[in-house]
Symmetry: C2
Subunit: 512 residues, 2 copies
């Protein structure tokens, strides 16, 4: 049955469902193409086969007002057409996230967006019950971005069957897998029988529902399109099969405003794909995504060339074992893009060095990222008898960093304008000032965030300003999540007593 909505909100989704011929392989044999036209935009949009003889096309309007569309396909006798109204966005709908001020982000309506993401690689491919628990955890508002995969994951602690598979066919017998032998099954060592030309519609519908559930919680879906942790052969498909997959994924997901394209988790662990392959993937996604969603490609030990123009922001894993987000300023200078550190070791206690740092160290890395003008990401890997680890499966959080991340988000939201940058004033602390402000003298900013990290001053003298500038000061304990307002107004040279503990910050706001 031909259906679409008469009314859609701005940055919502118009979904047109169209019956059509489904002989042969409708995933490979049929192209569905639509034109959507409003007063302020005209978009070409691709559709997809959704099973049961139905084709679907989705469109995200970026403006309010009347829209018309015309959708053609070899599967249809006649084009499908229609008109609909785009109304104002509902509360909490700020549009897709865009790069703003070179190094930062804002929603399309201008609201600053400070990413504080987490990673649950395949949370949506766990049991229904575990997915519910994950969503309940996320509803606490700790995070506003989630990195996760379209393909299932095979790795340490990831030997069980996923909720669904992306292709029609049958997987290898997972009962042979143990925590000791799983590495022997990397790639496709036989026993799998998937048809890489026939998508499992149920899998993709489920990913969509998951994207929408995150959207309801105000969480951006940083979708990982390819990754190396595989025992089914999804990482070993031909280039043609990869492109077919990208066409399908973009047709299905691009209309969701909270989607980001993360081309790879650890591209450099996939030697089977060349730089030319990745560049071609990027070209494909840019052609097929009419909304220009954010695009990134994540590394393990070797950075992709992050200067490539299709990369909207740097999504990086730390390469140095000891120095991580403190390198943000260097990366900003090198890439002139937002820097998002999405793997800086996870809070946890597993055997792997990437998954066993403490919450204090993780939070120090978050704060260092922020005061250097970038962003960090969370993950959690605490051992438990059920082998459910947030990093891959979601569930409940056992750690102590998530509350501190929410606290940091609150502080970040109070930044004037959009985004912070490091002020090159002092060597032995980090001072951030608003990105949008540019002054000849350090003393003229409206806002200063001093962060002391592992340094523990019991006082600091503030001699940076002239005798007239007046400030309100707060002492922030980033670990204990307190903000202590210093009474009165500070002027000229002033002295602040500090508790001599780690992880303290001072915020000064100019009042005169």
């Amino acid at each position: 049955m031909y259906t679409f909505s008469a009314k859609v909100e701005r940055w919502g989704v118009q979904e047109v469902v169209m019956p059509g011929k489904a002989e042969g392989n409708p995933f490979t044999d049929v192209e569905v193409k639509g034109e959507f036209v409003g007063k302020e935009e005209r978009k070409t949009v691709y559709g997809f086969y959704d099973g049961d003889g139905n084709y679907v096309i989705r469109f995200m309007p970026s403006f309010t007002g009347k829209y018309g569309f015309r959708i053609e396909s070899s599967a249809f006798e006649e084009p499908y057409t229609g008109t609909f109204d785009v109304i104002a966005p509902s509360e909490g709908n700020h549009g897709p996230v865009r790069v703003k001020n070179t190094y930062h982000f804002a929603y399309e309506d201008g609201t600053p967006y400070y990413p504080n993401g987490t990673t649950c690689y395949v949370w949506e491919l766990q049991s229904d019950e575990l997915q519910e628990t994950t969503l309940k955890t996320l509803s606490e508002g700790y995070f506003n971005k989630m990195r996760f995969c379209v393909f299932p994951k095979h790795y340490d602690y990831n030997q069980h069957e996923p909720w669904s598979y992306p292709y029609e066919g049958t997987p290898m017998d997972s009962s042979v897998l143990t925590p000791e032998n799983f590495m022997l099954y990397n790639g496709d060592k036989g026993g799998n029988d998937f048809d890489f030309t026939r998508f499992n519609v149920r899998h993709f519908r489920h990913v969509e529902e998951s994207i929408l559930k995150l959207q309801e919680l105000g969480i951006e879906a940083d979708l990982i399109l390819f990754h190396p942790y595989d025992r089914w052969g999804f990482s070993l498909m031909s280039h043609e099969q990869d492109i077919l997959y990208l066409n399908y994924v973009t047709a299905r997901f691009a209309a969701y405003r909270n989607v980001w394209w993360s081309f790879a988790n650890e591209w450099d662990l996939m030697p089977q794909k060349s730089v030319e392959d990745w560049e071609d993937f990027a070209k494909t996604v840019m052609e097929r995504d009419p909304y220009d969603h954010l695009r990134n490609i994540h590394n393990c030990t070797k950075m992709y060339d992050q200067t490539r123009p299709w990369i909207t922001h740097v999504c990086c894993q730390r390469i140095d074992l000891y120095k991580t987000t403190e390198l943000t300023e260097e990366y900003r200078q090198a890439y002139k893009k937002p820097i998002v550190w999405d793997e800086i070791a996870y809070e946890g206690n597993i055997q792997h060095g990437w998954g066993n740092i403490g919450p204090q160290e993780l939070m120090r890395r978050f704060w260092e990222a922020c005061v250097h003008g970038g962003y960090a990401g969370h993950g959690e890997t605490y051992l438990s008898d059920d082998r459910v680890l947030w990093w891959s499966h979601g569930g409940v959080l056992k750690g102590e960093s998530q509350d501190r991340i929410r606290f940091l988000q609150k502080i970040m939201n109070e930044t004037p304008g959009c985004g912070l940058k490091k002020a090159f004033l002092s060597w032995d602390d980090s001072v951030a000032v608003p990105e949008e402000e540019q002054h000849e003298s350090f003393k003229d900013y409206s806002y200063y965030l001093f962060y002391y990290g592992f340094f523990r001053p019991s006082f600091r003298d503030f001699y940076y300003f002239d005798d007239d500038a007046e400030f309100e000061a707060e002492i922030i304990d980033t670990w204990n999540m307190t903000v202590e307002k210093i009474p009165g107004v500070l002027k000229g040279k002033f002295h602040l007593d500090l508790p001599g503990r780690e992880y303290m910050a001072v915020r000064l706001r100019r009042v005169n």
Copy 2:
């Protein structure tokens, strides 16, 4: 009265006191030169004027047996001559420290020496009472090296008068100094009247006594010859005056076996001295020190060219704010010398970033230094009402790192051979093996020290060895200072449960 000892122990000091003419300026006008001859060595040694018409020459014999000497000077009518016996060293006298195994140290008798130093810049120029307190603290055996200055120090927390001045004359009035204005008096802003050609003998005698008191405690005296923290003009002397000073210092101190020459604290903060000056200082000391004591030159933000052949070992301050002793291996490769990190921020809570890290972080840096094949140094800067800070003044220790340093010393002393090096086995932990051992396979070492730093594994599987190698294992809590022996012998692949806390280490000793 002409005096010398009939019997001296090996690496002890033969001191010859000789009356002589003292007209004019005996510090500049007179040279005293001796030849000391034993069966196994012949040394030319310079003497010095010690006031009261007496000249002194000091000699450290490096062998046992009969020695003779002949000392000449324009101050003497006739040469002074004599013979004496050198007997075996007393307990605890292992001779001077030498470089061993390229990256490490041993005393001349072959006993390994693992430096765990502290810094008390001018402990010997505080009140007699405070000096006594410092020596009492040091007698606890926390440290086996002390960095300190011949010249007094002027800086934050260092505005009072020193115990003595190195030259005859009068200093500026220190009562004008405050914690706020002291920077205005850097260098020599007037009010000083010192004669840089007339040494204050009492000052140098006192430094000698201090060196000997450290020697009694088994502590090497890492003597800082020049430094920039000055209000009296000692950092601004002419090149000729500097050379006169170095001749005097070497003549007085070189015979003490525990002396090291640290040419500068923060050479790069003394732009008044050129590289040619420093090179000339090094040449002078090498000519005047017949025992070839260890030589280093310490940086602030710019390293001296540590490849210079006269530098026996790298004595460095951390240049990066975040990454310190983790760079040890890179420095080893660059300089092929022992790496001693003598400023990696001090335990404390003062306002300065170089003096307010916590004891856990300091100890982490110590351990990272060791497992990377180098060494770290201690300092302490806790605020107190009396403004007595260990870093400059000595006194009592208020921190928590010193006990852990003594614990580390005990662990280091158990190293087979002399010194550790990092094994390039694993990325996410640091594994050290004995420097002296060289094996084709990682599995063949006799000893392994795994250090996890801020990582907190709750277990590790050890798969590195073959099925036959047998090990004894210990779990070391470097913070709580416990060593837990795992019962029995471990073989093949084995699993160790760990507490999932920071600062843990595992030691494996091969038993078969």
